[in-house]
């Protein structure tokens, strides 16, 4: 019951707010939503304690779908992995709910916002607590739905409406694969229950599946299909295009859904399915390579963006790439660890930028900011903390998790070395664009209008206090996983998760570990140095550099033209074919041609033939008489 309440409380908040919010609750919506999610948080902590005490909970509530041998229940599994996720989701949700009270104050859809946000928390909790694939899929789609609602929250803006739609449809591409993966899992294992599937995982090694005449390894196919879903939800290449656009949503949404929780669902899912992924080298390598490539790909785009939220969005894509990289090299716990630390510092970055945007009255272009340091000291301070954390400065959360990932990649053979290089390069860029963001926003002189400057102010307490809490998380969250080099048995989170995720293989020497750590710290500092050089010391430099590498700059600025590519190759052809070929030609001409053509033919014949009907009575009489005559003649002469 306690565990069931964890998702039910937010659901209740959703139902109450959506039904009565418009007419009764109005701007008191948070009085329902915040206690509900805080209650969930408390219950989640207690569940975490239960797990810490060694109880893994797996309970079925009722049979959801029964059809022949296909049976799926609605049920919860709370093990170590889920427990961590529960803490991440509920704690950050609580903080962001509180933050939203201030941020969304006065918005016409205040009740709606809290309703959707509650629904999101419910869905996300269902996702992480599911004990079978189909319920996971339920949560998976439901968070997508909430994401759709919340991105399109300000639906009167066309860009927001488009972005919401885009997010949902792009995700559908991933879910297409995921859904097929789930079906294939059932056909292979005869169950969708995690326990049974993972328990029997070993028994299907070596089985193949025939697709269009070629045999493929069954496990690999399953894993790759499932991974499709992760690629969509976690905005990896090539389905990353929706996440930057998703920044059209209110900032708390970006922080909660598009940074801390929902987008990490893919990471969670792959980690959850580690018994399957472990059995397929191909799948693991795919995950690692997609992650690594996405990490550097998104980071390069992030270098030149001017929209403050988009920079952070690309940073998110890049960091998610890191997590997949970790999963791909078998360091599941490192991936989850990064997920956990990332949630705090990235939420902090987003909420901080929200604070900035709020202060500037919805200005998001960094070129119109600058010098905010003195107006918004608290925001500035938390921004610095978050940036230090994300760039991997020792002592802050990001350092520990990022270092763990890079180290594990380094140990992962030749591919691993290559990925490590990618990761380190991405770390350099991360550092650069993060500092660039800080320098452009908080340093220098204010570049906005006088009007805006006049109104500049620090955000109210209800906004800054959650920021401080998150800042604490961004600093200390990492101490759950201190590398062995620094402290014996320091990797407590890895140990905690090991019953679910196992231990990463491969042991390196202290020297190697030292080298990896040093290099990542070095690139972090290098990033700061370059950014400082370009944006503080010599503000003319960026333009010169951009001029110098014009084509390259344009390529990055336009995000590698991926959106345009999809538009040209998929969206427009499909629309054109639908309109011109299928509807305009095939449906209207061929099928309707036949359908209407046959009657028309008959009609044309009849029009001619009906001339026989003169309408003159005597003609009919004549015909009748002739007919009678013929019959009489026949009777008389032929018989």
């Amino acid at each position: 019951m306690k565990y069931t309440l964890i998702p039910l409380l937010p659901l209740l908040s959703f139902i109450i707010n959506i039904l009565f919010g418009r007419n009764f609750i109005k701007d008191k919506a948070h009085w329902i939503a915040v206690p509900a999610v805080a209650g969930s948080f408390i219950l989640a902590v207690s569940a975490f304690m239960d797990v810490l005490a060694g109880n893994v909970i797996n309970l079925n509530i009722y049979n959801w779908i029964v059809s022949g041998d296909f049976q799926v229940s609605i049920g919860f599994l709370i093990d170590q992995l889920t427990a961590i996720m529960l803490i991440v989701v509920t704690s950050i949700s609580t903080l962001i709910f509180i933050y939203s009270i201030g941020y969304m104050h006065g918005d016409g859809g205040y009740y709606r916002f809290f309703a959707y946000l509650s629904l999101f928390v419910f869905s996300m909790l269902m996702l992480v607590m599911a004990n079978n694939f189909l319920l996971l899929y339920f949560g998976w789609e439901a968070v997508g739905l909430c994401s759709y609602f919340l991105i399109g929250f300000w639906f009167h803006k066309k860009s927001a409406a488009d972005a919401g739609k885009k997010a949902f449809i792009v995700n559908r591409f991933g879910d297409f694969g995921f859904g097929l993966g789930v079906i294939l899992v059932f056909l292979t294992f005869g169950s969708l229950d995690y326990a049974q599937v993972f328990g029997n995982a070993g028994s299907v090694v070596g089985q193949t599946i025939n697709i269009l005449g070629t045999d493929y390894d069954l496990i690999t196919v399953i894993c790759l299909l499932l991974f499709c879903g992760a690629v969509g939800k976690s905005a990896q290449m090539p389905l990353h295009v929706w996440l930057p656009d998703a920044m059209e949503g209110p900032t708390p949404v970006s922080a909660l859904i598009h940074a801390a929780t929902m987008v990490t669902a893919g990471v969670f899912m792959v980690a959850r399915c580690n018994p399957l992924f472990n059995l397929s080298h191909t799948a693991m390598n795919t995950v690692a390579v997609v992650g690594g490539v996405t990490a550097i790909f998104a980071a390069t785009i992030g270098l030149v963006q001017n929209d403050i939220k988009r920079v952070i969005a690309y940073s998110t894509v890049s960091q998610l790439g890191y997590m997949f990289l970790a999963l791909g090299v078998g360091a599941y716990s490192a991936g989850i660890f990064h997920l956990y630390t990332h949630a705090y510092f990235k939420a902090l970055l987003f909420l901080g930028s929200g604070s900035v945007i709020h202060a500037l009255h919805d200005e998001q272009n960094m070129q119109k900011m600058g010098g905010l340091k003195k107006y918004m000291p608290v925001t500035y301070a938390v921004f610095i903390i978050a940036t230090l954390s994300i760039t991997g400065i020792p002592g802050l959360a990001g350092f520990f998790s990022k270092d763990e990932i890079l180290y594990r990649a380094y140990l992962g053979g030749d591919t691993g070395k290559f990925l490590w290089l990618l990761g380190t390069a991405a770390a350099l860029m991360t550092s650069f664009y993060s500092w660039r963001l800080i320098f452009m926003t908080f340093h220098g002189k204010f570049r906005g209008t006088h009007e805006q400057e006049h109104h500049l102010h620090e955000s109210p307490k209800v906004i800054t206090v959650p920021l401080m809490f998150l800042a604490v998380g961004a600093i200390f969250a990492g101490y759950a996983g201190i590398p062995p080099l620094l402290m014996e048995h320091g990797d407590r989170i890895g140990e905690f998760l090991s019953p679910v995720l196992g231990h990463p293989h491969g042991e390196g020497t202290h020297a190697e570990e030292m080298m990896v750590m040093a290099s990542s710290v070095l690139v972090a500092l290098a990033g700061w140095f370059i950014a400082h050089k370009m944006y503080v010391k010599n503000p003319e430099l960026p333009r010169k550099v951009a001029e110098m590498f014009k084509p390259f700059y344009n390529l990055l600025f336009n995000k590698y033209y991926v959106d345009e590519l999809y538009g040209k190759t998929i969206v427009q052809p499909v629309l054109k074919i639908s309109d011109k070929v299928i509807l305009g030609f095939f449906d209207a001409k061929i099928i309707e041609g036949i359908v209407n053509g046959v009657p028309n033919l008959i009609g044309a014949f009849s029009r001619k033939f009906r001339q026989v009907q003169t309408g003159l009575l005597s003609n009919y009489g004549l015909a009748m008489a002739l007919g009678a005559l013929a019959i009489i003649g026949y009777m008389i002469f032929m018989r």
Binding site: Q611, V612, G615, L616, L617
Partner: protein, 100 residues
């Protein structure tokens, strides 16, 4: 005795004249009368058969024929009047509302 066939031949001749009138005349009223003529020719043969077969059925049938003829004349002429009111002609070759 008059043979049966004489009556029948008379009936046939009269019927043929009726047919001719039905097909040839322009005046709708006379066309109706031709129909009556044909009905009467049939009546003659019916009565003749009835007499020669010493059965009553033929004569009974004549009753019904007369009934139907009366009904037909009444309805037909009523239609004629209704029609004439809308379309003042009763010439067969000018009535072609049924033209396809």
């Amino acid at each position: 005795m008059v043979p049966l066939s004489w009556y029948i031949i008379l009936s046939a001749v009269m019927f043929s004249i009726g047919v001719f009138g039905f097909l040839a005349r322009r005046n709708l009223i006379i066309v109706f009368m031709s129909v009556e003529l044909m009905l009467n020719s049939v009546n003659i043969s019916l009565v003749a058969f009835s007499h020669y077969l010493q059965s009553m059925r033929g004569q009974i049938l004549v009753f019904f024929v007369i009934t139907v003829a009366a009904a037909e004349a009444a309805i037909g002429l009523a239609i004629l009047i209704a029609f004439y009111r809308n379309n003042p002609t009763i010439k067969v070759d000018e009535i072609n509302l049924l033209k396809g």
